[in-house]
Subunit: 237 residues, 2 copies
DNA sequence: CACCAGCATTGATCGAGATCAACGACCGAT
DNA sequence: ATCGGTCGTTGATCTCGATCAATGCTGGTG
């Protein structure tokens, strides 16, 4: 079980797997690598995509904003994922804003060049299809999560999913501020806090960013996780 | 403004646009057309995809179900769309159940054959990318809708979007049962009914399946529609 | 060190929306 | 026409989560 690396070189990106050196080089001629400081906004919602961004290290957070200015976290994209290829390939305005929470590196490919390369190159197209499909499924999962579960269930399942994906069955470490996690789960930070406290009856112990799971079975019983919502993260993968 | 047709022939599907007659024929050799009666379940959530389904006429409704058995409408797919290509291309279990609400016709392409054809065929791959991207964006819009707006706002914007897309600025006709629309909007049928009543103060009149919009401006002011959530549906397209 | 700013927790209260229940309208079947 | 079923509406009540407000905690800066 080799973990996915967190940092990538422009030439060993999975995106380019199976591409001939020539086409890869041609694509990279239309691209630059950009180091980005925390807090940077990569693009605003409503902007037209000029580049296809690829996360080489670090991550990007995608936010949705309402007319009244409320802002919620919708997704987090990590290396080596594409940042919303859906916008680039349809050449339609971004539906979300992208912000960078940590020091990160991005590959920027000119949108036109990217679209042409995808059209000309079956294996590249295949990679894009895979990426789009994964991202689509994540969105469907999130919708099911929002529509079918209570706030407490969402919080509990979130913690369970974290602990699995971190490989620590008795512990989960929150990956960013509770504020953001709450908005990702479609609740306020206050409700998030209360839900965590409430789940202490189900064998949970909150210590800052670290959540201890004293009784997994009780937690599972309390919040009813579902692989078709929370993701597989079974033995493999 | 020629409306999109509601019924398609196997040979003039946009999916096959730009394909040579030979490859199209080859694909269709691995496919069958199936007429389907209302109420039929095409597949269950959790099933592995055996076919890539394409809607040739009619529609398919996609439902998510929770462990406790609650069921909500997540999306409706109409001709000439692909039915969840994300499941087929990733060869992963369906996250939703597909049910057919009306007499419909589907093209069923063997999943393996479909994947091979996509891999071998850049223009087909391009069509799949476009379809996936559109569907991804719809899911993002729905998430923003759920997380950023109140129930009443969602209902009002839904009616506005309907009237625009039906080309009747002063009227909207609900496309299926209020029951289902409510679950699509993430609320109960009772709340949906009340929200519609409440919006009568904003110039709305409910007559069964027909909703009259007596004062568009007031409705817009009341529920704050946003092209980045509700879709463009501007002058063209 | 003192200070301040941003984040997190906790309490009190409010309100939107869910739930429970009753009723009416519609529709297909016999 | 009568029946039974589904769907929709309306009312009463409840509850979950939002909101408002106060306080605590932490980390960075002078």
């Amino acid at each position: 079980m080799d973990a996915t690396p967190t940092s990538f070189d422009a030439n060993d990106l999975p995106l380019f797997g199976g591409l001939s050196a020539a086409t890869r080089a041609e694509l990279l001629r239309n691209a630059v690598i950009h180091g980005v400081a925390p807090g940077t906004v990569l693009f605003e919602q409503g902007d037209m995509p000029n580049f296809q961004l690829v996360v080489m290290s670090g991550s990007a957070q995608l936010f949705g904003r309402s007319a009244e200015g409320r802002e919620v976290l919708i997704e987090v994209v990590r290396a080596p994922e594409l940042v919303i290829p859906a916008a680039t390939v349809t050449n339609a305005p971004y539906l979300m804003q992208a912000r960078v929470p940590e020091q990160s590196r991005f590959l920027l490919i000119h949108a036109d060049a990217f679209r042409e390369a995808v059209a000309a190159n079956p294996t590249l197209a295949h990679q894009v299809i895979g990426s789009l499909a994964q991202q689509f499924r994540r969105m469907v999962r999130q919708i099911k999560n929002l529509k079918l579960r209570s706030a407490t269930q969402r919080v509990g399942c979130y913690v369970l999913a974290l602990s699995k994906q971190q490989g620590t069955p008795k512990r989960a470490c929150l990956p960013y501020e509770k504020n953001l996690i709450a908005s990702e789960l479609g609740i306020t930070r206050e409700s998030f806090s209360r839900a965590l406290s409430g789940l202490e009856q189900a064998g949970l112990r909150v210590k800052g960013q670290i959540i201890e799971i004293r009784d997994v079975n009780r937690l599972v019983a309390a919040c009813g996780p579902d692989p078709l919502i929370d993701g597989e993260t079974g033995p493999e993968a």
